[in-house]
């Protein structure tokens, strides 16, 4: 009997509990913002080398370990938001330079708008809360 109850918990309750996991929410939030930042960095320079992106992100403390960036770049490329070209380098093998696709550009515009809206809303809300508190 105990076994049956446990398996019920496992099958039905656990996935729900997982969804409520705050860590996941935080990660998602950070990932979204990280994407926004990466696209912005690439947009600003026209194109960018992975190491340059890393340096900027690390400076502004957006990432802690570098490994995170690579799967993210590949995913953005897979989603056709980014493309890359090879460029000869004076100090070694050719380097991969990332740039935005048209889709990526539109995506970034949308993110920017959403960000501004969110920022305004959050600022307003937190301001009110601070005043009340």
């Amino acid at each position: 009997m105990c076994c049956i109850v446990l398996s019920f918990v496992y099958i039905f309750a656990l996935p729900i509990m997982k969804d409520m996991d705050i860590e996941k929410t935080k990660t998602q939030m950070r990932k979204g913002i990280l994407e926004f930042c990466i696209l912005s960095i690439i947009k600003r320079g026209g194109d960018a080398y992975a190491t340059d992106i890393i340096d900027e992100l690390k400076d502004s403390q957006m990432i802690v370990v570098e490994g995170t960036l690579y799967p993210l770049l590949t995913r953005l490329k897979n989603e056709s938001l980014l493309e890359y070209r090879w460029e000869e380098s004076s100090s070694g093998p050719p380097r991969k330079y990332y740039s935005l696709t048209e889709l990526g550009d539109a995506f970034l515009q949308e993110l920017k708008q959403t960000w501004n809206e969110l920022q305004g809303a959050v600022n307003k809300l937190t301001l009110e809360t601070n005043q009340n508190g």
């Binding site: 398996s7 099958i11 950070r30």
Partner: protein, 578 residues
Amino acid sequence: MDKTISISLGGFSFIVDDRAYQKLKNYLDEVRQSLNGMEGTDDIIADVEVRIAELFKQRLDSREVVNEHDVEYIIGVMGRPEQYLNEDDETAGVSDSGKTYTGKPEEGGKRKLYRDPDDKILGGVLSGLAHYLGIETWITRLIWILLFFADIPMTGTSFTILSYIILWIILPKAETATQKYEMFGQTGDFETIKRNVSSSVTGVKSGNSASNVFGEILRAIAKLFLIFFGIILLLIGISLLLSAISLLFLPDGLMPMKIFNHIVDYEWQSWATKIFGFLLLGIPAYFLMLFGIKMMYDKMKIHKTISLTAVGVWLIAILGASVLTSTLVKSFSRNIEYSNKSAYTVDSDTISLAFNEYKTVGTKKMKWGMEYDIDDFEEFDGKLNKKIERNVEVRQSPNNEVYLDVVYSSKGSSLDNARKNAEQIEYNYSMNSKGELTLDNYLSLPKDVKFRNQDVNIVVYLPKGKVLHTQNIRNVIFYDEQTNGKDYQRGNNKFYKFVGDHYECLNCQKVRIDSDSFDDDDSVNISEEGIKIQSGDKKISISKDGVRVQNGDKKVNINNEKTRNDDTDSIDNSESGN
């Protein structure tokens, strides 16, 4: 001094010492693994390698050989493999970079039981167990094989296989570096990790020791066994699945559905039973096939979610089936019997007891329950008919009357319900003035009445002086009131008379009845044609032709008038020889 290896990384070449090489390779393997088959994994690894090369360049400066600390530094910068997809996994504290990944642990840390994916034949259970016990892998494998052979003859089932499969399911696989450390109980000892990856490293390899060779042989034998048992498991699985499917499509007209549909109160119960039955058989069949294939083809992936769902559904089916069963069992929980006693005055010296061999349906006579026509249960004539056991219990009548006691019995969810069910029984019998009691060999229930094991038992009370002639009765049960004992006798065309203190058979001493006695020396045969008694070369026959007696070659014939066709004497005594 450690060996050094020259490697190419991200378009640069480096000289790396042995330890650093192992560590780096292991790290890249784990990164690849942690990406979990994501699209573009190769690109990511290539990019990571380029970055690592850059970092090495920066760090080495004028040094030539990359050492273990450099790799640790790299890991600190790039992050642990599990952080690639999920940076917030900061359980170990990334801040003191590098140190965390390999951070020196307490000596002699506790070993944990994992499955070892790097040294496995099937699931890595036995190698994991060996690591846990701190012994060589081939030892646990050998013990397993020995147990396997001892197991089946001793217990009849293979608990060895069963326990292996259970361990396979419940033990986690040692995937991350930390887990592999824990498996050996020596967190941070790099040598242990190196042993794990040595099979995939091409650079350095020590010669095989004797135990390794032995291990390889065992491995090959085990592989053969796996294929063999894989096929067996697969076949069992397939046949089980087929029976599960056929269960689902059991026709209503065939047993057991024929009677089952009369037991259930609602039609959905019948359906639910089929579906539960299908799941209860089909899911183990699925797993048997799955494990069978897995045994033969190691690389096949077992989908965890599907498997867990299947186990869950199976447990639900068990729950459902037991609820269903208990409601059905409850319908059979009470038992009631009531009897219908009738008295007859019989003048004849012989009382005949017989079960009808035929049921009359309309104008037709149907033979019941023989090798053709119909089963023990049959629905016709708008009724459910059930064959009864052709048993008759014989008791002593207190006077000169013959009593017939028909005992109706039934089960039900309550006594009232049981009585109601018993009262629905229709059963026919008839007694004529010649003392011939004819009983139906079946009972009938109206079609809408549920089958609750309704039954009929026949008890006959006989006066002492009467001879009992039984026909087509399976067992005649003589009840002795003094000893409360029951004496089972056969009831196919037998004569019984009360002699002394019990009934004795008049025509069945030391002889077989109804035998087609071609090769039997002794026989008594009583049939419609007459009586034939034979013992060796002595024969007596009484038939419509007359009476014939033969002793060896002496013959006496008394012929019936009808068959006498010439003027020979009615008594023909022929004798030849002496």
